[in-house]
Each structure stands twice: as C-alpha cells, then as structure tokens.
Amino acid sequence: MTEIILEAKHLTKTMKTTNIVEDCTISVAKGEILGLLGPNGAGKTTIIRMITGLISKSQGEVWINGYDLDQSFEKAIGHVGAIIENPEFYKYLSGWENLKQFARMSRKNITDDDLNKMVEMVHLTDAIHHKVKTYSLGMRQRLGIAQALMHEPTLLILDEPLNGLDPEGMRDFRQLMRDVADKGTAILISSHLLSEMEMIADRVVIIEKGKLTHNETLKKEEVTASSMIEFTIETQEQAALQAEIVRLGLSVTKTDGDFLTVEIKRDSIPDVIAILVRAGIPIYSATPLTTTLEDRFLSLTNQGGQY
C-alpha cells in the first residue's frame, strides 16, 4: 500500500460549547494531492491550524511521517512546508532576506545555490532583492511557495494558495504542484475555488459546518470505447424518441421536458444518432453527461442552506 504521510484522526476543536470542527479524520498518502473543500467558515483553516500545531486540539491526534505532533513537534513539523492564509512576510526585509530567515530555521543545510534555484522556479529572480512591501499579492504568493518548498518537505500544506494568482500563475502553480507531488510529496490544499480544485486534486474531502460530509476520488476514470456513459438527447418528438430507444434496447435514466437521458456504450453513440435521424426525429442537441464537482458541491451546500 502507499505510504501515509499525514494522518489526522478525529480532530475536534471546541470553543466554549460549540464544536467548530467535529471528529474530522483526514489522511494524505505519499504523492497524493488532497483538496479540502468547503464554504467560508466551514472550519478548513481551523483544521489546518490544528495540523500545524498553531492551535491546540480539543480532541484527536495528528501524525506526520510517523511522528506524533504533540509528542515530537519538532520532528513532525520539520517535514512540513506550509502557507497558511495570506502569504505574510517581514515586509521591510527583501525577499531574499526573508528566505534566508526560513532557511536558517529549517534545521537543514540550505545553500544560497539551493535558494537561487527556488527563486528561479517561482520566477522571482528579478525582484528577490527588493523589499517585500513592493511585491504584488501574486509575487508574495510565489515567495510563499518558495518558502514552503525550500526544505523539500514530505508534506505540503497550502491554505487558500490561489488567492491573488493570475491565470498564468495558476497554470504554473498547478504544474508545479503536480511536479512536487510526482516527486513523492503529499499535498493538502484547502480552497473554495472548486474548478481549480478539480484540476489540481486527486481526491477531495468536503467539509461543512465543521464536519466532513464527503470524500471523493477525482481520478478521472479512463473512458474506454466500451464503457457506459449517460447521454442526453433534446427533441420535441419525445414519444417517437422513446419508442425508438425502447426498440434499440437502451435504458432510460431520466426524462425532463424535451430532454431524455439514456445509458449507452460510448462507441455506439454515432450509430444511435444515425438511426434516430433516419427515423425522422429532429435532434436539437446531444450531450454526454458529466457531473462536475461543482455541481455536487453546490447541491450539497444548497441542502445545507435548507436546514
């Protein structure tokens, strides 16, 4: 089995009498990117702060690389690189001096050459000796990434890392995360940007009101010619269409006004359309059905709004 890098068990944070986070169990395997998804105020940041030891846990335990965070904090946290909320730095110092500060605190020997490579990787070479107060938000994000990756952590924790990145920066970021994960780093990313999460994460856990409500693998299943998919056809001639479908021996999964959804083998779609056209059925649209994470997420949170 793959090695588990982060194991957070039964995390609970109680403030006064209310549970901000309740019994959340999360694990991230080596090389895996786990997305922590939830609306604002759901408890994402609280979970991340418990995992990084910034706040105490009311209950539960955190294991990183086999070290208990409470028992051997230094060993556990030494394997972690993190950006928590905004990438904050010592603004009156240069980007370089900031990185040097963290390099000195890493308990590893990080040379100036190593740092230069990091700086190059996040495209900050030109600005690295300027003071951080002159940086844009995107530049600070990138400096934050350099800070989080410099000591080659086995666990990377990123809280809302995409704020302030432009589309190009986001694309670079995705690629970088993929590369880092492929080298074996486990990555935990929290975000409310669903579409981005879908593109980055291997697996997503959805958190709502402090509880984990969903745990879903996003590994896209290879769509082969013979795999069954759902397929929606739009036409006003519903009666004729349904008769034809039954004759073809396909099963109907849903009807909705002018729309009819059937289950069908992917490689038989062209034939079916040809038959329907020959049967004189006017087809306005024909779409294979894919549910996005966003659909599921929104439907979940909409339900949440009702009770």
Binding site: T45, T46, R49, T52, G53, L54, I55, S56, F73, E74, K75, I77, G78, V80, A82, I84, E85, N86, E88, F89, Y90, K91, Y92, L93, E97, Q101, F102, R104, M105, S106, R107, Q147
Partner: protein, 344 residues
C-alpha cells in the same frame, strides 16, 4: 538556537526604527549638553539663608565657585572650601545626616586637592566632561524607553503582521522561539547601554572641558572617580532595564498589540516614581512593601548615592529584581506555550 538569535537580531537591526533609536540617543545627549551649557552660563543671583539676594563681590568671569558661606561669600579655591567644610563638621557634630553629606563633599574636594587640579563646576559657567559622563548625560530613562519599545515590538509585531504563523511552524519549540527573542532583547539592552556610554563620552568631550575621568565626577558622589560612577550607574540601570524589558515582553505576548505593549511599558517607567512616593511612606508601617517591584526599580539610587526605601542593600535589591525577572519570564513562557494562534 544561535540561528534563531541571529534571525531575531537581523529582524531588529534591519528595521529602520533601529537607526532611529541610536539617533535619538545622540540627539537627546546633544540637547542635554547644549541646555546644560546654556543654563550654566546664566548668572544666578546668590541668596543668603533668609532668601535675600546678596551682592556678591564681582568676580572675574570663569572664576570657579564651589559654594557660599552663610554671608553669601563665595569660595573660589579648593583649599578655602576644604577649610570651610572642616569648620562645618564641628558645627554639625551631632547631626549624622549632615555630617555624612559634609564628609562626602570633603572627599570630593580632597581628591582634587591631592591631584592638584582645579575642579570645573557650575559656578564658572560650565561642568566638566567627568560630571556629564558620571551621570551618563541623564540618559538612563530614555535608554530604558527605547529598550521597552523594542521589547514590545519584537513579539507584538509578529502577531500584528501575521508572521507568527511562519515562526511557529518551524522545527523549534515555542519556548525556544520565545527564548531567542528574549536573548535578543537582552543583547539589545547591553548594546544600547554601551552605545550610550560611548556617545556620552563623545558628546561630552565636544561640549565640555576635559579633565581626567579618574577624578571625581560629582560633589554628591564623594571621591568616586567619574569613570567608576558612570559604570556603576550604567550597571544598576541595566538591571532596571532588564526588568522593564522582561515585563514588556510579557505584556506583548499576552496582548499581542504593539500599541498596548509600548503604552503599558512606558507608563510603567513613568508611574514608577509616583507609586514609590506612596510606598516609601507606607514602608515604616508595612515593611514587606520594600520588596515591591517599584521600590526595587529605584536601584539607580545606589549609583547616585541616594537612599533606597526600606534600607535594602544593593545585593538584596539586585537579587530581588532577578527573582522578579525569572518569575515574569516563566509566566510569559507558560502563556506563550499555551496560546492558540487564532484566526486573523
């Protein structure tokens, strides 16, 4: 640990405010030296014991004046002053306090007599470098202020800027992070003290006539050489400063607000003398009050030859302050370790 202290030191000194601290010290020293010279140049009329202004015989400018007798006649030589003081000793033979004071003055003048040097006093329109240096240009309170501000910022700024998250997610215990900050503040206190001593010497040498620093600096300090007096004051003040910065570090760790920490720290320095006035009155009745931190913080009195309420010895006061420092630090450490770094 050395890495942590190096980091803290760089964060402190690369800030623009660090230069401002040093400039403030030099600027205020220059101001004090200038004002001292200015006010000493004014001719103050001589009064006798009944408060009537006595016409003193006109002396040539820059003649030293070491004091006046009851008739308002000034002494202008060391020898005549010593003779007069010896006379006074007999007059006040029963008054212990007065006798002590006269003896201290005698020590001062006799040291100059022995060295065959004419002391430069306020009477001839100036003071010497030694006098200025022995009181460190009255800078002790200012230096304490600056140290308190630095100690308040060193913790509160991390919370204010959110950088505390970066600091506490490194492979170091929280107590190590706190200790590195404390060490840095101690280092700063020592350096500010040393800087002030050197700056006083330079500014003093520019403004005032130079005499050997091995001669006494002030009449009230007897025969103690100016150099020794300066180091004594610097030493006692450093102990007080360390107490103040320890308290400031605690306040800034608890409240995490820079404004609050600086305000309370500076307020403490100011209110100390006020609180002490009341404490001094109450000590005869409640002797335990002599161990209050406010009374102990009068430690500079040992260097300026003033009594400290409750008749504590220097060693007692020094140990008392150290005990306070240790307790306050342990409380700070306890709070800092427990603290949730909450959502910002």
């Amino acid at each position: 640990m050395m890495h942590l202290i190096k980091n803290e030191w760089r964060k402190l000194t690369l800030k623009r405010s660090f230069i401002v601290y040093l400039i403030t010290i030099v600027a205020l020293l220059t101001f004090v030296a200038f004002m001292t010279q200015l006010t000493n140049d004014l001719d103050t009329p001589v009064q006798n014991q009944e408060g009537e202004i006595v016409e003193s015989e006109s002396l040539p400018k820059n003649t030293p004046i070491y004091g006046h007798n009851q008739e308002g006649k000034p002494f202008t030589t060391v020898d005549s002053t010593i003779d007069y003081l010896n006379e006074q000793k007999e007059n006040f033979a029963e008054n212990e306090d007065a006798l002590k004071q006269i003896n201290t003055q005698l020590d001062y003048f006799e040291a100059y007599q022995k060295a065959d040097v004419t002391p430069i006093t306020k009477g001839n329109g100036t003071v010497s470098l030694g006098a200025f240096f022995s009181s460190i240009g009255d800078m002790s309170m200012i230096v304490n202020f600056l140290a308190v501000i630095a100690a308040s910022i060193i913790m509160a700024a991390e919370f204010g800027d959110g950088t505390i998250k970066l600091l506490l997610t490194r492979p170091y215990k929280r107590s190590q992070i706190l200790l590195s900050k404390y060490m840095t503040v101690i280092l700063l206190s020592v350096l500010l003290t040393a800087f002030t001593l050197v700056a006083t010497l330079i500014v003093g040498a520019i403004f005032f006539p130079i005499q050997s620093l091995m001669l006494p600096g002030q009449v009230s300090l007897g025969a103690t050489p100016a150099l020794i007096s300066a180091f004594q004051l610097a030493g006692t003040n450093l102990l007080a400063m360390l107490t103040y910065v320890t308290i400031s570090l605690m306040i800034s760790s608890i409240f995490r607000s820079q404004a609050m920490a600086v305000g309370l720290g500076v307020g403490m320095i100011f209110s100390g003398s006020l609180v002490n006035m009341f404490i001094a009155d109450m000590i005869p009745k409640y002797p335990i009050l002599k161990w209050t931190i406010f009374n102990l913080l009068d430690i500079n009195n040992f260097a300026t030859n003033n009594p400290i309420a409750g008749d504590l010895s220097f060693v007692q006061v020094a140990i008392g302050l150290l005990v306070y420092i240790i307790i306050i630090y342990l409380v700070t450490n306890f709070i800092f370790k427990k603290r949730d770094v909450a959502l910002t």
